[in-house]
Subunit: 136 residues, 2 copies
Amino acid sequence: MSDTIEQKCLAKGAKLTDQRKIIAKVMSESTDHPDVDELYNRVSKIDSKISIATVYRTVKLLEESGIIERHDFKEGKSRYEPSAEEHHDHLIDIKTGEIIEFVDKEIEELQIKVANKLGYKLVDHKLELYGIKKKS
Amino acid sequence: MSDTIEQKCLAKGAKLTDQRKIIAKVMSESTDHPDVDELYNRVSKIDSKISIATVYRTVKLLEESGIIERHDFKEGKSRYEPSAEEHHDHLIDIKTGEIIEFVDKEIEELQIKVANKLGYKLVDHKLELYGIKKKS
DNA sequence: GTAGATGCAAAGTATTTGCGACAAG
DNA sequence: CTTGTCGCAAATACTTTGCATCTAC
């Protein structure tokens, strides 16, 4: 797992510092969508000397390398998650803030079709559903 | 047009000040998606004494009243547009920043279906397509 | 040894807020 | 009158950056 990350960093000509290894490891083990502050907390538990500036610089690096993905949900800050093999979108519970990941091929295909119809080639998209849990 | 906005403000128990009238009018006449700074520029041309704090307070008020909508595209700031009768989504040209509005009923329906499948009632959603113009 | 990375604190953006003055209802 | 609103400047939240030091390669 971290091998891959390290290889990707090297491929970019980036130096493999301890800080980067730690941040990459913590991110790759995250199953939620931490913001920078939360990531900084987790990383600090491993090495308390890492500065938040380095965390900011590293998430930017990892994002540009396609290793993690940034999301701007309806808050004032960015959240990150490791890039998945298969693309997915998010449903956010507006009561609890819980984030559920989902995949829907039909929607994906329709998006491409819509973009085409408008004369565009789709290169990226963002789909977020906001909902409240139904009583079961 | 501005009648509606004024009525809606009054219904909320909000006072109908000159500043609000001007900001609401400028927004209702906007066909693009201005950010607060741009809105402030436009408003200042009509009344140069209006402060940017008032613009921030007013867009928040108008948004909470459902009169305008906020969007967080992939920038660090919010953009606004008057609420439309019919809901629509956006396609953003990643080269030029141009924003194209579109409607696709099929996607809308699928979203509701997906949310239901996950046990949620869909109350809101955000769909943004990012693309590059195809040579015609 | 050298280019690139780090830590720190200062600087930048975007946005919010406390407060005294003011105006709408 | 009274309550909400305004303008101003200070404050906040998130993120970036200049610089001297340090470290991976």
